[in-house]
Symmetry: C2
Subunit: 405 residues, 2 copies
């Protein structure tokens, strides 16, 4: 069985890089902190004797045995975080994967095929879109050249940042598909805790639609400009943020809608702004429902643009249809968790995950562990040690099955 | 009479400092650009033989004759701009004042009292609040020590910035009141142009209320957090921005309401924010109406905070009751402009002005010139040369009357 103390110690050591002092972690993709995190995990992979391969978009795969040529059973996740992230989102899947591989190696288990653990570049999508950036390139869903030209919210270019942190590798993209992929992740939502279940057997991932909306009006004086003379992008942005909240409330679960980023220009107290830029994150398990939400938003944006006398441009940052995981793999996760004595819930994922990209090229599944109070993308993100250990144990068993059968 | 070519050349030369390349000007208060603008205007004052005095908050007064001890007739305005400003807001009043003083000097006119031209620190209020910062300190409305400790939106401290640009002077604050004050300014609104009038005889300034609102909620995952689990400060900020727009629309003119500055934290596409900070600018000519708007806003903010489960803190950045200018001074502006053959309109000011602070300590008036399309705080801010010249001529005549009578 896995060594929980070793996994716990590694989780803590990795969390020290980008430590925000409030229990949280800030390692935005391809920043110096991300580099430091990568270097640490790579050093652990090397200590273990894995062959470490890096591809053209900075995805890192550690394979055992080091001279393996066959397609491996792959596990892993990501180690980038949002600016105000926690310590388990992504990191758990990578380090529990590493722990599982280490346990397989040291137990001297006879393998039918290689095992490998990966961390993928820029899964969070918050510095550069789309989310699941590295795994999307890995499976051929985004051409490498286009990916390298992507511009981050801070103006940096992905290709330059990869060079800068020294994570451009020779492995080609798209990669040769693994034999199977299984990812352990915290749920990041309230369901498992509320239902009193320890393990989620993830059936798939809901559809994701990210748009960046730019509203251009006319800057003017806040004191002298009568209300009916205004072409105010900040008002239009606010009205659209209220609209998507109402849209989600009216549609009911599982529809969610979020305006998480807003920038005004020139952003001064006494200036009706010239421009507002904001993002809209819409998600639904049903693609038709998601498309209906996108269309309702577009119609409302166009109508408001006309009445306010502003222009509205919408740019897609990410658009992923709902994904269903391989039925046999989901059953395997459920069966394995039950065999360990855990209460298990089959459930869709609210968050996007690298597994949804891998599902395009190989049988894929995910294991969820509960999130205390359903909080994530927050320094208070937390999962109880017993639940982390339970998840890592299920991941280990599933990997062993896939690698030995 | 004044030299319009000389005034026009100086307006152009000053506008080159902070030139934004699109016809606009960016000289936020106490930045390097502001220092350069100050140095240029001071050099012109010195060339003219004025005595240049600087006070503890960086207000600059050029007096003629240089050895004058009596209270002068004062004119002037400000040379700081918003980040996306035009070239006339404030600058016109300073340079037309300088032109008027120069014309008085070179014409050898016999004066009954000294004349002086001033530029006041940080009138725009967009880098640090309140607006009319320097003139407020000048008249004793804000203690110097408190003023020096004020923190700008970029985190800089006023006292440090004044030291840095070398504009801490020995003149005490509050200053000895001048004999009278008259300020020329562009209207910055649409009224004079719409009514076909050349000169505004400004009767006073409407009340100004600036608040900074901080909404604190709980950051969480945009994909996994059900709508009814959210404590979303961005939603509350948006709902309040829509509320003040509706409030102003329902109240009707002259109520105006603006949300010009918004900042989210962490400001990422897939994170329900932890915090939103935004400003609300409310103005009305009637103080009771302004107070009613403030109260309606506070009530709505508190109600929304309760239903969303967030906290809302409101901090006043500026609160100035409506101001009425000296009746005799307003009549004088109107009479003088008519004597020059201009069509004149008596009108309140929508924007705040240094004159409203000087009005606390001496007879004060303002002269307005039209703004093309009513646009200001915008690089396209424009006033026709003939109107600029007309305004400068009226200012000159009024100054001569006040200095010789
Ligand atoms: N797991 C996770 O937080 N992924 C980030 C992409 C998303 O926003 O769903
Ligand atoms: N004149 C002018 O633009 N003053 C700035 C202060 C205000 O917002 O009214």
């Amino acid at each position: 069985a896995i060594s929980w103390p070793r996994l716990e110690a590694r989780l803590a050591e990795l969390a020290r890089i980008g430590d925000t002092g409030d229990g949280g972690c800030s390692r935005l993709a391809l920043t110096d902190a991300d580099r430091e995190g990568r270097d640490l995990v790579v050093s652990w992979m090397r200590e273990l004797g894995l062959r470490v391969d890096v591809d053209g978009i900075g995805n890192v795969v550690g394979t055992w045995p080091a001279d393996a040529t066959e397609a491996p059973v792959l596990t892993g996740s990501h180690i980038d975080t949002v600016r105000t992230g926690g310590r388990y989102d992504g990191n758990l899947g990578v380090l529990a994967g590493l722990e599982a591989v280490e346990t397989i190696i040291t137990s001297g288990l006879e393998l039918a095929r290689p095992v490998a653990v990966a961390f993928f570049t820029g899964e969070e999508g918050s510095r550069f879109a789309p989310d699941m950036f590295g795994s999307l390139v890995y499976v051929g869903g985004l051409p490498l050249e286009e990916a390298l030209d992507t511009v981050a919210v801070d103006g940096a270019v992905v290709g330059d940042e990869l060079e800068r942190i020294g994570y451009v590798g020779p492995l080609p993209c798209p990669a040769r598909p693994p034999a199977a992929f299984v990812e352990l992740h915290i749920e990041q939502g309230p369901v498992l805790e509320a239902e009193g279940d320890t393990i989620g057997a993830v059936t798939g991932v809901q559809g994701i639609s990210w748009q960046e909306v730019t509203v251009t009006g006319q800057s003017n004086h806040a004191g002298t400009t009568p209300m009916d003379h205004r072409h105010d992008p900040a008002y239009v942005a606010a009205a659209l943020a209220v609209f998507v909240r109402e849209l989600a409330d009216e549609a009911g679960p599982p529809q969610v809608a979020t305006v998480g980023r807003v920038e005004l220009h020139p952003n001064l107290v006494n200036v009706v702004p010239a421009r507002a830029t904001f993002t809209v994150d819409l998600r639904h398990t049903d693609d038709d429902a998601l498309r209906a939400a996108e269309e309702a938003f577009a119609a409302r944006a166009d109508a408001l643009a006309a009445t306010e006398g502003v222009t509205v441009e919408r740019r897609s940052l990410a658009r992923f249809a709902p994904v269903e995981f391989d039925a046999g793999m989901v059953d395997r996760v459920e069966r394995t968790a039950r065999a360990r004595g855990h209460s298990v819930r089959r459930m869709p994922s609210g968050a996007g995950h690298d597994a949804q990209m891998l599902a395009r090229v190989c049988p894929t599944a995910m294991v969820f562990t509960p999130s205390v109070d359903g909080i994530s993308h927050n320094p208070d993100e937390h999962t109880l040690p017993a639940d982390l250990e339970a998840g890592a144990g299920v991941l280990f068993d599933v990997l062993v099955q896939l690698a030995t059968e």
